[in-house]
Amino acid sequence: MKLGILLTTSPENENTNTVIEISKAARDEGHDVSIFLMYDGVYNVNKKEFAGLAGKGVEIAICAFNAEQRKVAKVDGILFGSQYDHACIAGDVDRFISFG
């Protein structure tokens, strides 16, 4: 199964840990996981545990415009994309969960 996740809250919010644990569990079960970050969700790329998901086979894309507004620097392995990428994820996955 392909799972898509939208995260719009900053790392202080409990959503971050929920997304990390759901993503790890889904990957352990062999599912594909794609995450899109926007608004304050872009700050999650600075959280080591979250960014580490990219090394576990989770595809992470973020809104480059929101990142630029918040002065979030580029991180290797994470696509600094656009709402087009968000739309592609939403259109491609079997299940889509939004955390905001």
Binding site: A64, F65, S82
Partner: protein, 74 residues
């Protein structure tokens, strides 16, 4: 024939949406030239259009925070 689109002052997602809408007016094989002043759009709009099958003929920085992107419609 080349059609031009000035998207200076526009940001994501309007840069992609307006480019895509303009491409609907362009015949297959014709070129659309788009002007951007928003750096993330210069990376993301061409990548998204390539994903849709269009060809990026060139990306040129023509000034401080000003770019010209040439797109050939598939």
């Amino acid at each position: 024939m080349t059609i031009e689109l000035d998207l200076k002052g526009e940001v994501c997602p309007y840069t992609f949406v307006k480019t895509k809408l303009k491409l609907e007016e362009v015949e297959s094989g014709e070129e659309l030239v788009v002007y951007f002043d928003h750096a993330p759009a210069v990376e993301n709009v061409p990548r998204s259009l390539k994903n849709e099958g269009h060809k990026i003929m060139g990306i040129e920085q023509t000034g401080d925070h000003l770019w010209k992107v040439r797109i050939r419609k598939v």
